[in-house]
């Protein structure tokens, strides 16, 4: 059997974490290729539906990442995201998804190193967890 390659969807805010991922690129900081980035304007724009969709269509982990509280382009986006995130986490837990599959980080535009580090950690963790239960279920049924 092939080695399990976890798939991660990262929702990153345009001003901070997307820029951090850009910085990781310009600084040639390598990280595992398992992540696919979706650019949103603010982490508070992430609708729980997007996260469900990601898991439903086969993601093993989801990262939502935006600015630190003081950096937000929209003043208090991370606070709004936090509220949404807490509810989302409970819902996913109820659906039988391990808590570690969904992560919320604050990564500023200068923290390319941290972005790469977070991706590495997530990949390691997801490798231990194995494929998402949603994915296993779906593959069994197809």
């Amino acid at each position: 059997m092939d080695e399990f390659k976890p798939q991660i969807i990262a929702f990153t805010c345009n001003w901070c974490t997307y820029a951090a991922a850009d910085l990781a690129g310009t600084s040639r900081i390598h990280y595992p290729p398992n992540v696919r980035i979706v650019r949103v304007m603010c982490s508070s724009m992430v609708n729980p539906m997007y996260v469900f969709k990601a898991f439903e269509s086969g993601a093993d982990g989801v990262l939502i990442a935006g600015c630190h509280l003081v950096d937000c382009h929209y003043i208090d986006g991370p606070v709004k995201c936090d509220t949404m995130f807490a509810r989302l986490k409970k819902m996913l837990h109820t659906l039988g998804l391990e808590d570690e599959r969904l992560r919320h980080e604050m990564i500023s535009a200068s923290e390319g190193v941290i972005f790469a580090q977070v991706i590495r950690e997530m990949v390691e963790q997801l490798k231990k967890l194995g494929p998402s239960p949603f994915k296993i279920r779906r593959e069994a049924l197809v």
Binding site: G25, P33, V40, S44, N47, Y50, K53, G58, H73
Partner: protein, 662 residues
Amino acid sequence: MEETRIGVYICHCGLNIAGTVDVEEVTNYAATLPSVVVSRDYRYMCSDPGQDLIKNDIKELKLNRVVVASCSPRMHEPTFRKACQDGGLNPYLYEHANIREHCSWVHDDKKVATEKAKDLVRAAIKRVYYHQPLEVKEVPVNPKVLVVGGGIAGMQAALDIANGGHQVYLVEREPSIGGHMIQLDRTFPTLDCSECILTPKMADVGHHPFIELLAYSEVEEVSGSIGQFKVKVKKKARHIDESKCVGCGICEEKCPWKVPSEFEMGLGKRAVVYIPFAQAIPNLATVDVDHCVYIQSNGKKCGACIKFCEAKAITPETLLNQTDQIIEVEVGSIIVATGYDQFDPSVIPQYGYGRYDNVLTGLHFERMTCAAGPTGGKVVLKDGREPENVAIIHCVGSRDQNYHEYCSRVCCMYGLKYAHLIKELTDADVYEFYIDMRCFGEGYEEFYKRLSEEGVNFIRGKVAKVTDVAISDEEKGKLIVVAEDTLLGKLIRVPADMVILCAALEARADADKVASLFTLNRRADGFFLERHVKLDPVATPTDGVFICGCCEGPRDIPDTVAQAEATAAKALSLISKGKITLEAAIANVDETKCLGCGRCEEICTFHAPKVISKNGVMVSELNETLCKGCGACAVVCPTGAMLIRHFTQEEILAQVSALTEV
């Protein structure tokens, strides 16, 4: 419906992308995806020939969607949007895939990187399918400006704008402009007299053809947004006829009732009908309604001012019947310069302020040394004696976890100034109790050095208490300042006749009201929050509203003036542009789905959505000039009525599912 025709362009970026990603394979792959009409690769897509490929294809192949896979959209999205526009396509029918920063530069394995690039390109194609053309709207800028606060900050901003030939409304809540600066005696470190440098500026403001001074007035209501604010200003009744008053001061002289003067910090008295100080602008009398015997007795008692006013500016009519007026003005931008309050040291009981007569604050001392002040410029104790020793206590209420953690920035320097003035005006010994000396501005450190040479005693240590309980003959009849001298490591007791407290500068007591009036945010310390502490220090989260001076935090006069000029530059740049381009990717309400629940209104930091009644139904209405497009409202909307253009649910869902397709 029009057929979707997508053009896909994969950039080599020299070898930056092509070195790690098999560009040809990605290009061929893209060509196989639905709705893709053309898929090309090119060495440098951002070059003119690269952009021409897009422009020509839009025309010749009738493309109505474009995807470019290259570097970060933060770099070249605007370039390719412009190329689309030049080719005749709405710039929002464009999508960007980042296969350099997020792919070729962070991965080594060509096979893996090529697969990832394919995923990113596929997701961009799926997403662009749902893009809609958006219109970039422009709104005109009203060239008039409102300045709130007539201290040095507000005056400077008003003058800069008015000198540029634009109308300014300057609102000041006190009877005269001048702010805290006009109360100061001399300014550090040059020791030039504050009045001498400020009164010419005040006169300029008073006479300027482009400044309409609304003194003794307060802003009541602000509506609208950048470029077109509507402001209601309450002009408080002075109870005199402003058109007739010549500011002769005879009413003040003849008024038999005296109350403590606010301007003199209670050290002197003023009449109930008064001009706050000699150089007041506007030079008009104001009646203190609460203390006026004529008004309080409903015209039965007193009336001295009516009798003596030769200009007939004070009449029974003005005293009894004059009411506040509401003035409405329309402006394009607003500058808030509402200043600070002095910290009230009586909340630190161990320093004895309010209990001991000769414990003063900085502003009291300013009035005392002022030649035109209540003591005629003499440094004297309450009983009229000259002090033999004076203690100056720094950081009262500042740098103190119990009160304000921040440094008030001006106290070290004015403390030094006081020491110099005491040395100049009396024979007293001066003791400065400090935590650290912070003398950071132009000529400040030199001033500190000069004072050390003048024989001032500097004691490093925070004062524990000020007491009048003497334990030796030397201390009898004096105040005793008890502190730890941290350089000697021992407790000391310094007898002093006078103690001056360098009280902190703090946010105005009503800063919360001002904040909600102008939609400003406040920091934990109560001062107004700038948009970015380093790179946007005078803008605020509300477009078109700028802040300067001490309402944003403690600062000295040079910094305040520089900031005020910065706000004027901001306002002038808006005026000279004449119009504002509004962000196109903002929220949009589908009224047919909206239930008027108000959750969008609740979550929006910028007050863009508002639930209104339309034909008897509650529905959310969006002020497009206020919306920044963050998308928080769309997340909380229970019916999906609120969506963010260019980031709609179907677009993002399409992108997400395309990314996880195998």
